[in-house]
Symmetry: D2
Subunit: 343 residues, 4 copies
């Protein structure tokens, strides 16, 4: 069956599988000290146009928990949108590390610099703030959980607010490739890296089998980070698996091509949705499209195509998500178009 | 200066100091195994009109963290009002124990059975709930952080909802004495104990030097609870200090007399506020009264009387709290009355 | 350079790379719910000759931390040899989860049933044991960190002791394949599974790119285990990566062939060590061989061959480790033989 | 019955009870911001003969857990004697905070500078130390759990070793008063404070109802310490209870008089033990005396006197502990003498 269920339904981009195969017999040292990890780090810095410290982790929840828990002081929590992945969909991984997620209101998954500024101002002005969790980091996702983006202006303001309070800004880039290559995006990778203090370049959802490249942009990698990663069960013995994948993704701009291709497919998918007169739940400029379906229509469509349940809109309608990726084909879109036509 | 700053501005009720002095030279075993702890537990059960397991802890945040973290499974969080003490004013003590506080909307500090029911229903219906923190306990405070109460009907509905989902209900009774003795209260201590699964009888804020009596009402004290208490640094060596205080508080209904007296003082204080035409921020039926003061008036009043800052209402007005306790005197009220008269 | 540095210097066994490539374009659901995970679990149960619950994790430290922290009660610790991997070489991952490692004396990496029995007896007899960490699980590794094995008799006695005290036995099988296929081993996989309560089948060190198959043998998988795994950042989005690897490893006994082959190579390596008159630090019957080298000899040998530093024996001698795996070749051994000949 | 069970069998020293009574009606601010806390801190600094940051906590396990967990980095553990209180008798409180206790060998409860130095040297020299818990603090107790002391020379060497590796030295002074006033002690309080980085002055076991005064001697109190204390459930609302007690203990040298008196009583008790030809388990120069009793003799003695079980020596003999304190009387000693005479 044709699937738009997520952007991680397929294995790895074929170039990655090819490189894993080619390098398979090489004897390499473990724990990220192999030459492929080194090369990948170098290429990522080149793509950033700046010096940075890079560390490869396996998955997104892990990356969020490791970054947040190693950068926060014990009395600090992380500020995030009420809908942020760290707040809602990580089974309490941040709290498991002992830290509170401090929720801000959001709009289509985005927080605003104004809300952030007001929150920080009020916190430090409150006479009782020593009895409360200190805000020690701001977490945003780019794109957000709703596929939306921060503009350069918005990100600049959020960044300025964070730094005014000496609080690091962390960008969850689990789907960074789709955000950067969106036609609505006005931020370069370099600018994004400059504006934040730490972010990660998502591999799992952008063509890798697994892997996230954590980037510390201000010479601020926590001391003995490898030990803290190991302590959290997140250090991969065959670090090559991550190094080779990211080395491939950052060779000949593969990471960006994957992003562009998925965006192109998403645009075509959007066209099909519009053509069939369906309603969008949100205007997403990236590879995730949120569509409102009448319940019986949704059930019928599931006979031909898979997608993911997002939320109930009302008793008769459901919001579903269609995601594209490097593995989405024109043929897949055609099947969707025809299936919608039959409804 | 006359102080209405909190209900813990004085030492202990004189009867407690007297008993501590009288028993001071007795040789007693440690860690809560002395006869005063036993006697206090027995008297508390008599006051409850039921069998229960009782354990004495030192303070409120400690009691909340110990109860919540020992009763939850690791994948569970505690549901609480957005304004709940465990959510806002405990410096992240619950998250420090690895558990998320799952916030519900509130009204004057109270959650509703409807909101709770909807939340629990939606959670378990959500296809992705295995990626989310499970609700494993419901926390409410009685009185709430705003001095308000749940009616018998409200508490019964919340209790029913919890038990429908097999989730224990925990009542933070840091100020229980004032809630029970409020003229608006229609719950007996017995009923409250029956409706919840665990609660604590606050001592620190109701006449003791320190101490909270944790009550497990369903033979549900966590296994090896003493060890877990010790592990959290919360086991008092001279457990007699807690035992003697609660033994005194539950002799001749002292705990309830303290509650009644403070309520009576609060009612008189209310009358003074009304007499001087001031606005209440909330209609509290217990010993905490929240009053809106014009800023310059507030500053002037501070010359004669202390109270506590609650929150800013608008640029020109502030919400302040006046609290009464066993140590509030008619003379204190007179000073307040006169000071307000001079404004 | 020829490397005997570890058993994870190469990529994956070629059959695994082949299957990853063949299945790469298939659309599969995430988080371990794909048919390859199902098939792998079924094949593992067949190899065990019993029903069991199987869950795939990424790495060894992660597996240890997840298993121990989800199976222990909060007031419990895990009993392990003083040299156990969880005690020494996991950067405090067990303590990070809040649990103490309770160390027992060891001999060549093994604990004895007698020491265990004495420890447990003394613990529960101690009047003050409620002020101490309760032993809640026993951890052993098979093979141990020194390459040694427990005999069937030894494991049976340890198992009996554990169950006498109602404490689960956990076997860390990071190198299980080499233990089972050792010529000194008298335990079947079925017997091992029966004697313990949980164990894992190591993939990372036995031919996979990554992955450990956790096996609960007594219908004792912790409730909502997937959520706890996610909470610890250990849930892989593309679970297929683990499923396909274990499905391949348990097809046509590949896992066992890899074990046998490495043991055969280790035996040949042993012969070379003996031929050159070198001393063994320990008599290991598995794929890790510990050899004492005079320091200047060690430095010279490093010009031709890599191996790993184990520990200093005395100012002039060092213990080094040679490891074999599926990727060790006869040619590698020849290079070692010649290099030793030149010393 | 006459009791030598511990040094916390009685309430508080009468001077403390008197002051608590006298100050009981005063209105004071909470959380340690009252004038008695300020005064107590000042008097402690005077007794130290140096500037220091002082914070009052309720109990010993709590003090150990708070100090260790706020001063360590996440990847660090605390080095302690295998018999150290934090390692054995705190129900895993240190591990609960996420940190490993790294055990050193001991002799009569003391670690040696040589063992410490060797351990630290080997750790940092080990190529794999990034996979291990870093030593981040050294914990010793003065007196130790066996009542023994470190000499000035020993403490100076341990201190020098710690500082050579830039690791803070923490002294658990739960029974500090008895150590300082021991006739065998050659350290002043000033010297002890200078040699370590943090220590606490035990109140619970030296005349208070509860309370430990944590002293940071190098301007090294962790940032936002009050918030971290609150987060661990260790912040007392009526901080006056701790302030008034320590203010009294450090008025007219009461703390030291209590220590001296108990030592005098212990010396007399020692004389009685010797007179009756009984064997000491250890030669303790402080208020705890460890005596070997034949089992049937022990049972008979328990009819007249209580003491505490320490450990079994052999099937026929038991080690028991007699403790003295401010509340021990000449009459108590006479009862013991006579009871031993009747055996």
């Amino acid at each position: 069956m044709v699937s738009f269920e997520s952007d991680y339904i397929a294995g790895a981009h074929p170039d990655i599988i090819k490189r894993l195969t080619e390098t398979n017999l090489e004897s390499l040292p473990g724990y990220g000290s192999d030459p492929y990890c080194d090369s990948a780090k170098k290429k990522i810095c080149e793509a950033l146009g700046m010096e940075a410290e890079v560390f490869f982790l396996v998955g997104g929840t892990q990356a969020n928990a490791v970054i947040i828990s190693t950068m926060l002081s014990e009395y600090e929590g992380v500020v995030a949108a009420k809908t942020g992945h760290v707040s809602v969909h990580e089974a309490g991984a941040i709290e498991y590390s002992g830290h509170k997620v401090l929720e801000l209101p959001e709009s289509e998954g985005r927080i605003s610099a104004d809300d952030l500024s007001k929150y920080l101002h009020d916190f430090f002005e409150d006479e009782n703030h020593e009895h409360m969790t200190f805000p020690g980091m701001v977490y945003i996702s780019f794109p957000t959980e709703y596929g939306t983006l921060y503009s350069k202006k918005e990100l600049t303001e959020i960044s300025r607010t964070c730094h005014e309070y000496d609080i690091p800004l962390f960008i969850d880039g689990a789907r960074l490739g789709y955000g950067l290559m969106s036609k609505k995006n006005d931020l370069t990778l370099h600018e994004l890296a400059e504006l934040c203090d730490v972010f990660y370049i998502g591999g799992t959802k952008v063509g890798a089998l697994c892997g996230e490249a954590v980037v510390f942009t201000k010479k601020n990698m926590p001391k003995h980070f490898l030990t803290s990663v190991k302590q959290r069960g997140a250090l991969m013995a065959k670090g090559r698996l991550l190094g080779i994948q990211f080395d491939t993704l950052f060779t000949d701009d593969l990471y960006f091509s994957i992003g562009s291709y998925a965006i192109e497919m998403a645009d075509k998918l959007k066209g099909i949705i519009i053509k069939h007169g369906l309603e969008f739940f949100i205007d997403s400029p990236t590879n995730q499209q949120f569509v409102v379906l009448e319940n019986s229509m949704m059930e019928k469509l599931q006979e031909d195509v898979t997608f993911s349940f997002w939320e109930k809109k009302d008793p008769d309608h459901t919001v579903v998500r269609f995601a594209t990726s490097w593995s989405t084909t024109e043929e897949d879109l055609k099947v969707l178009d025809e299936a919608l036509g039959r409804l």
